[in-house]
């Protein structure tokens, strides 16, 4: 088992100060953590590296030899850090992601946390916005990539979309909704239902109107308009109103039975969740590596959702 060089630096600090408390303060480390690390070091060496007494901690013969290496490693570490600070580009290891809040909270957070844990040198900035805002952010180069439900967006206007997760619009109602299980005459029944919809002139509203036309519903009775999917679902849950929403956004509510899909066999408009980036700009190594992680994460999520191996 190899020796952790950080433990040698810590041993050198104890040897130098003669005290666990002073060494911990110098290293900006909790004393308990320092004691634990020295114990690990002793287990790896197979012999005590310090003699603990009333007058403090004194290195043993082998401890003194190891502490010397610790001093050398510590000095090299300090020099390397000063070089990095003086010549390093301040944002060389930073990348910027934009996402809708829904995607950021329900999809992005786990792979991004794992990526940052794996690549400690990488720093990340997150922006949130509507799908239209994300498109603008990427177009202006204010983010390296964006994650959202970009739907029918084509790979034009200098933008490139990599689909990650299949998603579609679905019609939902409360648990035990009277329209549950409607079939052939769906369009007429849906036309008479009370609807909660997103505000006019938004991308989602436009997509919903197109999807309704596609299934033969030319006009609907709108009870309430709101920009918030959470508000839409709150009303749907407590009334006979229905709504058309992205399946991904309401998956947890469908899975826990709070709401039901009224047309489970009609996936009316596919709008995949994808990575949007500039088609002309080459991805940096960090962004590329993160996108690969996202694809792996999405494949696992899809496999879990469909029960595939």
């Amino acid at each position: 088992m190899s020796i952790d060089p950080r433990h040698l630096i810590q041993l050198a600090a104890i040897a130098d100060t003669g005290s666990f408390a002073e060494a911990a303060a110098r290293l900006d480390l909790a004393q308990s953590a320092l004691s634990r690390n020295i114990k690990t070091l002793e287990e790896r060496v197979g012999a005590p590296v310090l003699k603990r007494g009333r007058r403090g901690a004194v290195p043993t013969e082998i401890g003194a030899a190891l502490a010397q290496y610790g001093t050398v490693i510590g000095a090299a570490n300090t020099q390397a850090n000063s070089v990095m600070t003086s010549v390093g580009s301040p944002r060389a290891s930073q990348f910027r992601i934009a996402a809708t809040q829904l995607i950021a909270g329900n999809f992005l957070i786990d792979p991004l946390t794992q990526f940052m844990n794996k690549r400690a040198e990488v720093s990340c900035l997150v922006q949130s916005g509507t799908v239209d805002e994300l498109i603008e952010i990427v177009t202006l180069g204010e983010a390296d990539l964006a994650l959202g439900q970009f739907g029918a967006l084509t790979n034009s206007s200098g933008l490139h979309l990599e689909p990650l997760i299949k998603d579609y619009l679905t019609v939902v109602g409360r648990k035990d909704h009277p329209l549950r299980g409607i079939n052939g005459a769906a369009s007429e029944i849906l036309a008479r239902a009370h609807w909660i919809v997103p505000r006019a002139h938004t991308r989602l509203r436009w997509e919903i109107e197109n999807a309704l036309k596609y299934i033969g519903v030319s006009s609907i009775d709108i009870t309430y308009e709101t920009p918030s999917t959470a508000v839409m679902m709150e009303i749907v849950r407590k009334s006979d109103c229905v709504a058309m929403v992205p399946r991904f956004a309401v998956s947890p509510m469908i899975e826990n039975g709070t709401i039901v899909e009224l047309l489970p066999d009609r996936t009316v408009l596919h709008r995949p969740i994808g990575i949007l980036c500039q088609s002309t700009k080459r991805k940096s190594a960090i962004v590329n590596s993160f996108c690969q992680d996202l694809h792996r994460f999405a494949r696992r999520a899809m496999a879990n959702a469909t029960g595939e191996q």
Partner: protein
């Protein structure tokens, strides 16, 4: 001089001494360059009075920078959907613990929307054992918009007079020595 004035004067003096002790390294305001994980901190070229903005404290009451008069404020914007923000929060708790009674307040401000967002953010602080950080909520993004925050996480530092001393876009290890040097430099160079 009244007893109250004398008390206030002594109170301010004690706070000034505490600040110096808490950040006990030599003063170096003018040629100071941020380093470490706060190296991208943008020091405000000019201190300007801030437009008024409010947010909700742990008890749900409206609060503002006026409540922190006489103290430097490290205001961190975070959200439950922002992975780098969550990674950064523990270091803000450690900073707060290290500052002790120094006249510097750490305010972590969740921008999760509405009452549902507030509950989600509170639950996350509990789950991550970060209850030591008082809960503050900017549920309608008033503070976020007034300060022109664009990316998350962003940390804005205000001087004791409530003026912006600078901001960092991106996460940092706020309890590392370089971050504490930054606070010292700001407290030295940005005295009201």
């Amino acid at each position: 001089m009244t007893v109250r004035a004398l008390f206030l004067r002594r109170y301010r003096l004690i706070h000034a001494v505490l600040l110096v002790l808490a950040l006990a390294t030599p003063a170096f305001a003018a040629d100071y360059k941020p380093a470490g994980t706060v190296k991208n901190f943008e020091i405000a070229a000019e201190r300007k009075p801030m437009p008024a903005f409010t947010w909700r404290d742990a008890g749900g009451s409206e609060t503002s920078l006026a409540s922190y008069a006489g103290k430097m404020v490290v205001m961190n914007f975070w959200a439950t959907w922002c992975a780098p923000c969550i990674t950064e929060l523990p270091s803000l708790l450690r900073l707060q613990e290290k500052l002790g009674s120094a006249p510097i307040s750490v305010v972590v401000l969740s921008i999760d929307r509405g009452a549902e967002g507030a509950e989600k953010a509170r639950a996350m602080l509990r789950r991550l054992k970060l209850d030591g950080l008082a809960f503050h909520h900017d549920g309608d993004s008033r503070a976020y918009k007034t300060l022109g925050i664009e990316v998350m996480p962003t940390t804005v530092i205000f001087d004791a007079a409530g003026r912006e001393a600078g901001r960092l876009r991106g996460p940092a290890e706020w309890d590392e020595p370089e971050a504490r040097k930054l606070l010292q430099a700001l407290s030295e160079s940005l005295k009201p």
